[in-house]
């Protein structure tokens, strides 16, 4: 690591970032779109903006000052924290590009290099960014390490392999056997041995020593953060719900990208407090909550804002999502007294690494607990492990629980794979079935 880069990073952390935050606070808020059907916005949102802006701002200066890793959303990042890696999440970056409506443009940069437009759009955005440097966040640091787990998909391995080849940098895979049935002792053992074998490699790449006590501290923080996130989502059980899943998609960023750091725990304490207050005062996410909905799959990032208005106008509030729930569902398995074994369990049990029976049971439970009237299934052409099986699960849930369901064919970030008219027609029929 270079001394110059370390000084620059330290300066930006201690002086540059706080100055940027002050500047942002002093700036007049942009003109908001009228919110005739939405409740008052969450005041914590401004703190979230600060945190994420600071994270991406400092990322620009991290290279050379700290080891940098690009990490997949389902990878056990806690281990990297021990070695002081600055972590960047390409999936979070992809979502950001999608929400900023830059998905198509950056995907095309990958397509120019020969990547087929049928491939995952997060991957195309990431590769497109790597080839062109295009991003809405200024600049991402080139990684020293790629760190992924195939507990979310096999695609992540194919994608990170490309980056590893392009930059000639190491790739560490945490291979998590798919739970077709019950997990076996041999699966846990395999995962534990992989995690243990990562330690000397991470020491060599980062130039830092492993510390058992540091890992335990990070695991405690991650577990508490995830539990807070779970409590935040549980506030949506209230009628009316104090927040919508459209908000949760955005407020998810710290538990994904900054898990294991104090800032994410602090933020969720703040958000939880605000939501509890809203529940007490009966402040709702939408003005007239008549129907409560559940979302399945990743968000359609470029439609988030439009749809929050569209559904609110119809008195429909999304109060649960299998996607946002994923970061609350399994992290409680983390146990600082058994760090490696508990990481293996926590990361193996994530929703996409589990069979569909598990997912069906989880959805049944959520439909009951959150008093769901309707289920919106996003069939995401970029995400096969989330989407294959959705047609059957939707039918089973509709039959067993009488919940209204609609399937919308879309993509999380590539707006070319989205037919506004077709989806609108389906949603209109869905609203009708809900009694509107």
């Amino acid at each position: 690591m270079g001394v110059g880069q370390a000084i620059r990073y330290w300066f930006m952390k201690e002086v540059g970032a706080p100055a940027l935050m002050r500047l942002q606070k002093g700036r007049k808020g942009r003109r908001r779109r009228p919110r005739p059907h939405l409740g008052p916005p969450l005041s914590s949102a401004s703190r979230l903006r600060e945190i994420m802006t600071r994270h991406y701002f400092l990322a620009r200066y991290a290279k050379g000052a700290r080891p940098v890793a690009w990490v997949s959303s389902g990878a056990p990042v806690e281990l990297l924290r021990v070695f002081d890696f600055y972590t960047v999440y390409p999936e979070n970056h992809g979502a950001l590009c999608g929400a900023q409506k830059m998905g198509q443009e950056i995907c095309q940069e990958a397509e120019k290099k020969g990547y087929h437009h049928d491939l995952c759009s997060y991957a195309r955005i990431d590769l497109g960014h790597a080839f062109s440097g295009k991003t809405p966040v200024g600049r991402l640091p080139k990684p020293d390490l790629l760190f992924c787990s195939n507990n979310i998909c096999q695609t992540i391995l194919y994608w990170f392999k490309e980056l590893s080849h392009y930059w000639n940098i190491p790739l560490i895979l945490f291979d998590t056997p798919y739970n077709f049935q019950e997990i076996k002792g041999s699966d846990i053992q395999y995962m534990v041995e992989q995690l243990e074998a990562m330690v000397p490699r991470l020491e060599a790449i980062s130039g830092r020593k492993y510390s058992d006590s540091r890992l335990k501290g990070v695991l405690t923080l991650a577990k508490e953060t995830s539990e807070l996130w779970g409590r935040i989502l549980a506030t949506l059980k209230a009628r009316p719900a104090p927040m919508s899943i459209f908000d949760a998609f955005v407020h998810l960023a710290p538990v994904v990208s900054l898990r294991g750091l104090p800032v994410s725990r602090q933020y969720y304490q703040l958000l939880l407090q605000e939501l509890q207050e809203r529940v007490k005062k009966g402040i709702s996410a939408i003005k007239h909550e008549k129907r409560r909905l559940m979302w399945d799959n990743i968000a359609v990032w470029f439609k988030l804002r439009d749809w929050s208005h569209l559904f609110a106008e119809r008195g429909c509030n999304f109060v649960a999502a299998t996607y946002t729930n994923a970061w609350a569902e399994t992290i409680h398995y983390l146990d600082p007294s058994k760090p490696f074994e508990s990481m293996a369990r926590a990361y193996s049990f994530v929703i996409l690494n589990n069979n569909l029976k598990h997912r069906l049971n989880l959805m049944r439970e959520m439909i009951r607990d959150y008093q769901i009237d309707g289920l919106v299934i996003h069939s995401d052409r970029s995400c096969k492990p989330y989407s294959v099986g959705q047609y059957d699960m939707g039918r089973i849930l509709a039959q067993d629980l009488g919940v209204k369901t609609v399937v919308i064919e879309a993509d999380m970030t590539d707006s070319r794979m989205f037919s506004e008219e077709q989806v609108r027609t389906r949603l209109e029929a869905f609203f009708e079935s809900l009694g509107h």
């Binding site: 290099k113 020969g114 990547y115 087929h116 049928d118 491939l119 995952c120 991957a123 195939n150 998909c153 096999q154 695609t155 391995l157 194919y158 994608w159 392999k161 490309e162 590893s164 080849h165 392009y166 790739l171 895979l173 291979d175 056997p177 798919y178 077709f180 049935q181 076996k184 041999s186 699966d187 053992q189 395999y190 041995e193 992989q194 074998a197 069979n355 569909l356 029976k357 069906l360 069939s379 052409r381 096969k384 492990p385 989407s387 294959v388 099986g389 047609y391 059957d392 699960m393 089973i396 064919e409």
Partner: protein, 364 residues
């Protein structure tokens, strides 16, 4: 069996009459020797030639045709006579299709799953793979009765015999010393998707005997890469234009059939485990891009191939991801490539034929 080869369904039904169980096995890599040893006939399901109708209410159109046609087979009841399914962990779509079949459609037959560790391999992967083999044997034993290590040893030896014959077929073909067409070559290889070793070995031997030339026939050659040697009409076009397929990098063929011989001096389970880690590189296993590129360049060098045809299946992520860097790497080494984007049972269009013809002209 010599001289009489019943069609696939007749063969499988005959096997059932003999008292053997028949399992539907989805792509791609699985320890078939273990099934043989337990008296099970593995019937691989890659590309059943069916009109895709029923599957549309279960799987999205953006799922690859290998998975969609496999599920169509199940939905049309054409797999009802099977005694079980085995799903190797090949990709996200097969993984979830396995769970749809087991958890949502509920066939009243056993479903087995076989997880394959992904590269880059750690030391733990070897131990794990061996343990998975033992666990699979244990599960099969519950349905089918005793598992006999000695019988497995015999099946390993039969498998080695098959590998030797296939290796020889590939070698003779590469040298231009095989008379048969590309169509007949791949039709023969694909019989291994359902024939038991005692029936497959004579066919391989017969083909070698009948088609070996004493002198090589000279013609330019290409390498085929992708999932399957489909459609057969594509192979016919190559034959008609005087171009031989001199080797392949197909998941269905070379990537698994050109397995190194298993060590018969160690335990059969250990031998099976070792083989997995020595198969040619494949993106479904997580092999690195450079490893694949080096492998293809080596094939080109060994076979003097004039180009590579990537016969891609639409929506097959493992194959498509690697393609740009592999194509670039091949181009940097002066190896021309052609990419075809197809569904597995798609007819060969005139446009496609023109592209193939243009490519062959370019390399000749």
């Amino acid at each position: 069996m010599r001289g009489r080869v019943p069609d696939r369904l007749t063969y499988l039904l005959e096997q059932k009459e003999k008292g053997r169980a028949v399992f539907g096995v989805f792509p791609a890599l699985c320890p078939k020797e273990m099934l043989w040893a337990m008296g099970v006939v593995p019937a691989e399901i890659w590309d059943p030639p069916l009109e895709l109708v029923k599957v549309n209410s279960h799987l999205q159109p953006y799922i690859c045709s290998v998975v969609r046609s496999g599920m169509e087979l199940v939905l049309q009841g054409k797999s009802d006579f099977l005694d079980g399914f085995l799903f190797p962990h090949t990709c996200d779509s097969i993984q979830n299709m396995a769970s749809v079949i087991k958890d949502c459609m509920g066939p009243e037959k056993p479903c087995y799953f076989f997880y394959l560790p992904k590269a880059p391999y750690t030391e733990a992967a070897r131990t794990y793979y061996l343990t998975k083999l033992q666990e699979l044997a244990g599960s099969l034993e519950k349905q089918l009765g005793g598992f006999d290590q000695e019988r497995l040893g015999e099946c390993v030896r039969l498998s080695n015999r098959i590998s030797s014959l296939i290796e020889k077929l590939y070698a003779m073909r590469a040298k231009g010393r095989l008379r048969g067409t590309s169509r007949s070559f791949y039709q023969l290889l694909r019989k291994g998707e359902h024939l038991m070793p005692e029936d497959l070995i004579p066919l391989l031997e017969q083909y070698l005997t009948q088609n070996t030339l004493s002198e090589p026939k000279g013609s330019s050659g290409v390498i085929f890469s992708g999932i399957l040697p489909n459609p057969l009409e594509l192979l016919d076009v190559l034959d008609q234009l005087g171009t031989r397929v001199v080797h392949d990098d197909l998941l269905n063929c070379g990537r698994r059939l050109l397995a190194p011989k298993m060590d018969t001096t160690i335990g059969p389970l250990e031998a099976l485990a070792e083989r997995y880690f020595h198969l040619p590189p494949c993106p479904t296993k997580g092999s690195g891009v450079q490893e694949r590129l080096d492998f293809l360049l080596d094939l080109v060098k060994k076979t003097d191939a004039k180009g590579i045809i990537f016969n891609m299946v639409k929506f097959c992520e493992p194959e498509w991801f690697d393609l740009p860097f592999i194509q670039k790497g091949l181009k940097d080494h002066g190896v021309p490539t052609l990419v075809l984007d197809m569904e597995i049972n798609q007819d060969l269009s005139a446009q496609m034929i023109t592209r193939v013809e243009a490519f062959l002209e370019l390399i000749s």
